[in-house]
Symmetry: C2
């Protein structure tokens, strides 16, 4: 029995996102999982990080430092603390959203901006080494993350040679720069392609596919991104020369399979 | 004399972003350019796309279709129309923001979500061929875009083999999926690294560097992304076999230099 936090971001209660969410939540609860929801539009979530988030009047120190101080003092605004508690008490996070401009809708991006604060999700130090814990380590270690993404594009457009870029590369800032950065384990994203053209039977097929995926989550291997402190990066945060020698780009930061 | 739209997204009037913006605007105006500003935090910009954006009560049609109808009928909300007019009347757009979770702050992401509507920036058809104009063509053709990004990371971390990924790849959803998608020309992003540690002389050096960059914008070559309708992609939106044969990833979508 897992604890699951299901975060979704779509304004339409009649959308594909909403329909798949209902089916998935019912299915997961039927299997005995404890599911908590953050339906960001329904909550009227405020995505704009600002000084209203924390009682730190000294604007002479950088924003991120004020954010950290408020996190450690427990003075973050109530809506942020509520979301942090949900994250703290979960094993799996599902992020479900329509792909808008090849990323998360602003309301979800602002959930990361405001909830994953310094001192909670990052800027923590390893007491033994003094090193900053990030990329494979961090405040949210021990959790896995599944992204469920609906896109108008056909799947080939988001495939290996597709014009939109491979979905894992498109979502790099989220999968690697956010999930992996904070110590969580990103799973391969779950794509629902041509989402604006699904008729009844195509919807049923996508629903089946998603529920099957959810049933197998426990045994899935996360994306094998390299971690910061296993000797694979130099002091300037570059991949060391003898790994993927001469290559660059995003793929070099994944360990080879097997 | 260029018309420049300078869009920025930082909550702190004392931030590095704000200081560099002031210096840049003064410099550009001193050179005779016409500069219009969208300081999103100062404007209290609403980044959450919703039905409040358009008077289209029929939620049985998809959101993007309601958005398009409102765009063509001129019934988009006033704040969106004002921003669209700014975009229409500019030659160059500057997007200045701190890198939060390896992307734009939510307030800026929501500017794309709400302002770059269907029928304005995309989902337009070429009257001659009937094809959808995107990736190198679209509603915003004829404009160039400079991104000015402040990051806490050191520059090597965002370099070719850096753990955070090369900055151009990190910003792929913006540079390629948004700017190039709508027909605008993305310039190489301008990075201000270790932005939380700049002392007085380092700030002066960064300022000088930015002003020099701005002075040379007119003669800069944009990032040479391939366009959709030049015969380089097949009907499934994949790069044709004999270009970068056997390769995948983001780099194959740039034309070789020279």
């Amino acid at each position: 029995m897992d604890r699951i936090l299901w975060i979704s971001a779509h304004p339409d209660p009649k959308s594909l996102t909403a329909s798949l969410r209902s089916a998935a939540l019912e299915h997961l609860r039927g299997r005995g999982h404890r599911v908590v929801e953050s339906d960001l539009y329904a909550m009227g979530w405020n995505p704009v990080l600002s000084d209203a988030d924390f009682e730190q009047p000294d604007t002479a120190v950088p924003l991120v430092s004020r954010q950290k101080a408020a996190t450690l003092e427990g003075t973050l605004s109530e809506d942020i603390r509520r979301e942090q508690a949900k994250v703290r008490e979960t094993d799996t996070v599902v992020l479900q959203f329509p792909l808008w401009w090849y990323g998360a809708p602003a309301i979800l991006k602002g959930w990361f901006d405001r909830v994953l604060t310094s001192g909670f999700a990052f800027w923590l130090r390893d007491p033994a080494t003094g090193r900053v814990r990030k990329y494979g380590d961090g405040g949210l270690v021990g959790r896995r993350v599944l992204t469920v993404v609906a896109a108008g594009d056909r799947s080939t457009s988001l495939g290996p040679r597709g014009i939109s870029g491979p979905l894992e590369d498109v979502l790099w800032p989220l999968l690697h720069g956010t999930v992996h950065y904070t110590g969580m384990q990103p799973l391969r994203p779950h794509l629902i392609a041509r989402s604006d053209r699904l008729d009844g039977s195509a919807f049923e097929a996508e629903k089946r596919c998603l529920l099957d995926r959810l049933d197998g989550l426990d045994t899935e291997e996360p994306i094998p991104y390299r971690t910061m402190h296993d000797g694979e990066y130099d002091r300037e945060s570059r991949l060391i020369d003898h790994l993927a020698p001469g290559e660059s780009g995003l793929a070099i930061h994944r360990r080879a399979a097997g």
